[in-house]
Symmetry: C2
Subunit: 327 residues, 2 copies
């Protein structure tokens, strides 16, 4: 069970004219500061403000008519929620989303606006897996996993395929690509696309310091489950163990994992505000944070980074700007 | 004395590979809310965070070797300052910028970082024109006007040319184009480009309510000078009379002028944060504000809007998000 470049190319056909082909951006200031050539893939400009729409639409558009009639159910802190809700809206399906009660308001409201039914749960006392399974049993709805699914991964991989195509159009092959890593779906899709296009390009996953399950799994040589003592602002990257399928891909294709602190994240959000003029959420900004903090030596290199989402509440955003006024 | 489409095409050649060809963005949510097809030209993603680099580079790159050796001087509240400073840096010229002491810190710091010499002045008691003329007399530096100059206007017009080319590539001709209007340089360039490509596309300039010198000039049938009693947050649009050259163009080519309130501006900044994931400054957001506030009937129409800059201090930005949490 795995995916290859062809699966991603097929997903790209399904998404053609439906998903936004996000641009590749550059910043002379960023290049000068890092002494490197950095290409930015801003998935915050994707529908629903995050890459998650890609995988969701690729999955939902392939449901059978009978499945479509029964609708879908998904659990997510917010971006997968909105991705599934918007894909369901476009395909005219019913969608139920199981969300933690502490999800950012912007993500909850976005999901509701897209017409999905929301079932809130308590992260501490309830199991989102059980609630979702119950709903699936009662309604016959198809459960749409957030990352551990071939169609989801292939959909997210179209982001990586676009990076390689867009850079090729600039006569450029990146030395490395950095992507955020939560459950590992985006990273698995991107690493498959990137290595499929050019085996020599290195791929890095970036995690929050306290949610470094991929980093530790790589150290251990097998999937490990972590038990974080500290919270992270990166609500989109709070997975505690790599997905089974995503790990089977990422353990082979990802060259290394990098970790960034909570301060690194807030600093990068303020940097993106001030110099890139982009709104990026905590979980979406970690690849930028990694290069700004020299977690990888990229001097003289050509680097692509994915800014995977921009759904952040205004209070959290303002706090980052206040903490790092001169990023 | 005027400019035509060919001047803009020549400017585009000079800017090719130097300026950023900013993308065209869309938002399903914006289209749904306005029941229109809106294309967004985000010049906040241009070098120095505003369109002003286009005109400055088009002007400076055409200086003679003797002029280049003497350097340039310009006065500006911030974006023209940074545009001239960055163009001068690329072309290895000395630049002196005369800036008001109340210019946003982000613009002052940006100008200094680009290596320009800054001469601050007091808006109330000093004349920037006299200070700049003095500097030009003493050093032989060439004065680079902010808007009332054929090369500056032609450079800004490349933004309008790109809009028409990028929409043509999508098999689309816009019914109308909306642009911010301060001194009228961007608007003169855009109206020349747009009408040159398609005479039937309507062009609108948007001003802050209290700085509506173009609106009033159109009513009067001649250039009028206003004496605003109230300030505006749109520091980039504080001209009190249309430029002579820009008005000779805009009075012929611009179909109408629209006005937005201070609240409309803050609301649109918050909207761009929340739904477009873009950082837009007050003067840059007025075209978006105009369509969000139904200042023009665009139902069923195809509309292009220019977001002309994104250089806003974090405190001002956070204040807009706080005032309009659900834009």
């Amino acid at each position: 069970m795995t995916i290859n470049l062809e699966d991603i190319q097929l997903a790209a056909q399904r998404l053609d004219g439906v998903a936004i082909r996000t641009p590749i951006l550059t910043s002379a200031l960023l290049n000068e500061r890092l002494n490197a050539t950095v290409y930015i893939k801003p998935e915050c400009l994707q529908h629903i403000g995050a890459f998650k729409f890609r995988g969701a639409y690729n999955r939902l558009s392939q449901l059978s008519p009978a499945e479509k009639a029964r609708g879908v159910v998904a659990f997510s802190s917010g971006n997968h929620a909105q991705g599934v809700a918007y894909a369901a809206q476009l395909l005219k399906l019913d969608a139920t989303i199981v969300m933690p009660s502490d999800a950012p308001a912007i993500k909850r409201e976005g999901t509701a606006r897209l017409g999905a039914t929301i079932r809130l749960y308590d992260r501490e006392t309830e199991s989102r897996e059980e609630i979702s399974a119950d709903i699936a049993r009662q309604t016959g709805a198809v459960l749409v996993p957030a990352f551990d699914d071939e169609d989801i991964i292939a959909g997210q991989g179209t982001c990586g395929l676009e990076i390689m195509q867009q850079l090729q159009a600039l006569d450029c092959v990146p030395d490395c690509v950095l992507s955020p890593c939560g459950g590992g779906g985006l990273l698995a899709g991107i690493s498959t696309a990137v290595k499929g296009c050019n085996a020599g390009t290195k791929v890095y996953g970036v995690e929050p310091q306290h949610y470094d399950d991929h980093y530790l799994s790589k150290q251990a040589g097998e999937r490990v489950k972590i038990h974080p003592q500290l919270k992270t602002v990166c609500d989109a990257l709070m997975a505690t163990t790599p997905g089974e399928l995503t790990w089977s891909i990422n353990s082979k294709l990802v060259d290394d994992f990098l970790r960034v602190s909570e301060d690194d994240v807030a600093h990068a959000i303020s940097f993106a505000f001030r110099y890139l003029k982009l709104v990026v959420e905590p979980g979406g900004v970690v690849a930028l944070a990694a290069i700004l903090q020299n977690k990888l030596n990229i001097t003289g290199k050509t680097v692509a980074i994915v800014l995977s989402g921009g759904n952040i509440d205004s209070q959290s955003f303002s706090k980052c700007l206040e903490e790092f006024p001169s990023p």
